[in-house]
Assembly symmetry: C2
Homo-oligomer: 219 residues x 2
């Protein structure tokens, strides 16, 4: 099989798996690859707004299940369940997460960091990201969805199933995570969740718009 | 090389490529894989909010370049340049794109579609997605970022470079696309863009938060 077919096979394999085999655990070495796919994902200005909280505790899973209509079977059967949190105000151009990223992770000298912060401020203003806290958090969340997609793709490449979870009362779910001390006192908010494991049955036929419907060429 | 290393290699290979070799074109068979990675991406309720507009026309690229400070070299050197558009009000529970997806793509009988629409309406209300047009569009855009991530990963797997582009006046860019008749009379908005091609030089060291910083286990 050539490289083109190899990667397409992963995209074809992936489906929204609702129920996992509760007896089949993902090997640690495989799950590390899934986490690494998230960690190495690109993000706007390289500011990595995310934190990946792997929820293996059954009490916490039960609490989340009470407010997650779309994850009833996933929460009780998934080998691994991940909540992707993102920084809220820390993602402002003058926010503490952004300052920490430039200083401690990107290792920028102070004058370079200041110039980057100015460009970033212009960018955030130009695209109205500072107009509302919700808008800023949604923008951070978009980066998290890149990581989410990459984690599901890495999983599928390894023959592991997954399901992205938006079907929950996210405010209530976030409050549950906050009560367990997982949000840095509200600095982090809940963006999206994902379940990983092994399917119990084959999925139905994948439905998609055709290439002709979703692609337009301007030549 | 095992499967774990194979997929990790793609994530390590990818970087935000600013300048591409203008003489090196992506083979049609490879670019089809990149588009297919986008097309097969998951989306909330399977409603595929996206359209992929491949901009190869140099006049249109020049117009976009005038309002895209973050894509100056990408627009002039990329082998392929993609704008990802998403439906705006069509993504409401009672929107026309959602109706078309359930009827023509997912092939749901009318009573099943009605039940799904009700659940979808509850979901959109529960997470306040209908409070503002901007919020609804940002939510659609999150799905587009899954496709964006998958397209860049598929590219990297094939040894092709990419760069996600947020660094632009998106309103002005959207107006340019609208003037060329690419937004279905404003039904589609511009979510994000991406350039694809081949690097001219090796990137610097990738900077990332450590595993310990981004992952929390709740066991």
């Amino acid at each position: 099989m050539g490289k083109r077919e190899e990667i397409l096979e992963a995209f074809r394999f992936r489906h929204a798996c609702k129920q996992f085999d509760p007896h089949k655990k993902i090997a640690r070495e495989d799950f590390d690859v899934i986490l690494e796919a998230g960690r190495l994902s690109p993000s706007s200005f390289g500011f990595e707004p995310w934190r990946f909280v792997v929820i293996q505790n059954s009490l916490l899973r039960d609490k989340l299940r009470a407010v997650s209509w779309g994850a009833q079977t996933q929460l009780s059967t998934a080998s691994h369940y991940v909540a992707i949190l993102c920084y809220r105000e820390g993602m402002r151009f003058d926010g503490d997460h952004v300052a920490r990223m430039m200083r401690d992770v990107q290792g920028l000298p102070e004058d370079t960091a200041n110039k980057k912060r100015e460009r970033f401020a212009l960018f955030q203003r130009e695209n109205h990201l500072l107009d509302a806290s919700r808008t800023l958090f949604d923008w951070a969340g978009k980066q998290a969805y890149i990581a989410l997609g990459n984690m599901m793709t890495a999983a599928a490449y390894l023959g592991i199933d997954s399901c992205a979870i938006e079907g929950a009362d996210l405010d209530a779910s976030e409050a549950i995570l906050a009560a367990d001390g997982l949000t840095e006192d509200g600095k982090l908010g809940l963006s999206v969740m994902a379940a990983f494991g092994y399917r119990t049955k084959e999925p139905g036929q994948k439905t998609r718009q055709s290439m002709k419907e979703v692609v337009v060429w301007v030549t």
